[in-house]
């Protein structure tokens, strides 16, 4: 029984650690220093295109990887397949565009650094040169 409890605790810790290893980054044009989890979700679902300070924002996603999986689970509550289906429903009805998706953390940092209003996520240990880190409230 004791071993089982330790196993469960270890599992929970591993999941939390994975979620904690993400950082949300933004182009320096984004005025806010932090964003609420609800607003972050709305930005990535395309229903929010500006923040409270008036900054225009647009999401940037990773194609795959642990940061991507953790971000979906922690902030969007959707599987990768469900998220893709959601974006396609916007695209095929004309009510939204497919967001930018990139293959690596380095590509995301580089794109966010040079694109006005871009918001993305990368692994916590990724060097984030030229971007600002957004706190998630």
């Amino acid at each position: 029984m004791k071993n089982f409890k330790l196993f469960v605790l270890a599992g929970v810790a591993a999941i939390s650690l994975q979620a904690g290893e993400i950082k949300v980054i933004a182009n320096p044009s984004v005025g806010a220093a932090a964003i609420s989890a609800d607003d972050l979700k709305r930005v990535f679902l395309g229903t929010r295109s500006s923040l409270a300070d008036g900054s225009h924002v647009e999401p940037v996603l990773a194609k795959t990887g642990p940061a991507h999986e953790a971000f979906l689970k922690e902030y969007l509550g959707k599987t990768d397949g469900a998220l893709t289906t959601y974006y396609r429903s916007l695209v095929f009805t004309g009510k939204g565009a497919m967001p930018k998706t990139l293959s690596s953390d380095e590509e995301i940092v580089s794109y966010v650094a040079k694109t006005r209003g871009a918001i993305g996520y990368v692994g916590a240990k990724t060097a984030a040169t030229g971007v600002k880190e957004l706190g998630v409230k």
Partner: protein, 399 residues
């Protein structure tokens, strides 16, 4: 028959190979400082039934006449202003006739997240799937529940030429509400069920016009994955036709208005997705022939419940029950006022942009022949049996 099969295969091949090429080259490109997105979808199906021909296909012999596809181009002109358009064609039995039509084309100005305007030809939000019903990749099913989303009547509600006001209201801990209010002119598709049905019953339509107004409100509840909504649509139909039995006398038919009400709920958690919808249609039809007017109350209702589970990354299994009943006095044909359908589906995603679905339908009833719902006299000239078992295999591509 052979020509139709060859034609279907050629159309499907063209539609299916185009996305593969386009995906690599044209998914996104820049022109004059603007980034354009090009997306599309195409599907090809095969349907075979034990008896009764369904959706104007010769399903009792097995039919490949089940093809559709769409291609769209869009761009953001500013941070707040988007424009785009989509062409769509379908060849489902006699439905659509394989002709390209403008599916949607509009400008969308979002003043704020809670307030935006769309103007042009806009897809109509009505229930869970009305505006997305053509894109099969978005759904588990090869055929959506026909009680609420009849493929043959699709074009009567699919879009409107007019405008929308829309937005999302954040409710903090209570979730958020997406709303759309719209109005405009209904589409007029001469290769759709209403035209075929009236031709088959001796009262062919010449013109079918009308205005619609409606609204859709959906609540993204604080419970993760749970959404509930309601839609209302009022359609003022105006039909000109001829009554063949009365020497091709012209008639007018007005319904003022047709009230459509829909209530729906959707829940997804991890690999599981369940949803359901109830739809009620009600109208008073005023029929004018030789200057004499008569009125007829008409109503029908449909509902469905579905459940789907993603077993592996590639494989999804699902089932639904779909229930349609038209409120007409019971006739000598007990199968003539309803259509119930229990369906089992397996969807397999071969890649991120290609799927195959295998689906079995077990149908009881065939609906009212004067208010067709999938079964037509033109494709069933010797009569329609009370039950139909239908196998549908459908593959879809998208990018």
């Amino acid at each position: 028959m052979k020509n139709r099969i060859v034609q279907s295969i050629l159309i499907a091949s063209a539609l299916c190979t185009a996305p593969v090429v386009l995906q690599a080259q044209l998914g996104q490109f820049s022109l004059e400082g603007h980034t354009f997105q090009l997306h599309g979808f195409a599907s090809q199906g095969y349907a075979v039934s034990n008896q009764n021909n369904f959706l104007t296909m010769q399903t009792s012999k097995g039919s490949f006449a089940f093809t559709d596809g769409g291609l769209n181009l869009s761009t953001s002109l500013t941070d707040k202003f988007r424009v785009g358009a989509q062409g769509y064609l379908r060849n489902v039995g006699q439905l659509g006739g394989g002709r390209l039509s403008l599916d949607w084309a509009f400008g969308d100005y979002r003043f704020a997240d809670w307030f935006g305007i769309r103007a042009g030809k806009v897809k109509t939000p009505l229930g869970l799937f009305n505006d997305t019903q053509d894109a099969e990749s978005l759904h588990t099913w090869a055929l959506l529940p026909q009680s609420v989303y009849p493929l043959d009547l699709r074009s009567s509600t699919i879009a409107h030429v007019g405008g929308d006001i829309y937005g999302q209201l954040a409710l903090r801990k209570a979730g958020s509400i997406d709303y759309t209010v719209y109005g405009g002119a209904r589409p007029n598709d001469r290769r759709s069920g209403y035209y075929f049905n009236t031709q088959d019953t001796g009262v062919p339509i010449r013109t079918f016009t009308g205005k619609i107004v409606g609204s859709d409100v959906r609540w993204n509840t604080p419970v993760a994955g749970l959404m509930a909504g309601m839609s209302f649509l009022d359609e003022m139909d105006h039909i000109n036709g001829t009554y063949i039995a009365a020497g091709n006398a012209p008639y007018l038919l007005d319904s003022s208005p047709l009230h459509m009400t829909s209530a729906y709920v959707d829940y997804s958690r991890g690999k599981l997705r369940v949803n359901g919808e109830f739809r009620r249609n009600k109208k008073v039809e005023r029929f004018n022939l030789f200057g004499n007017q008569s009125a007829l109350n008409f109503s029908d209702k449909g509902w469905f419940v579905t459940g789907a589970y993603r077993v592996t990354r590639q494989l999804e299994l699902g089932a639904y029950h779909s229930h349609y009943r038209v409120d007409v006095p019971q006739t000598a044909d007990p199968a003539g006022n309803h259509l119930f359908d229990t369906t089992l589906t397996a969807r397999y995603d071969l890649t991120r942009w290609w799927n195959v679905k295998v689906e079995g339908h077990f149908m009881d009833g065939h609906g009212d022949l004067y208010s067709a719902h999938g079964f037509y006299l033109r494709s069933n000239p010797t009569g329609i049996g009370p039950t139909t078992n239908l196998l549908v295999i459908r593959t879809g591509f998208y990018f």
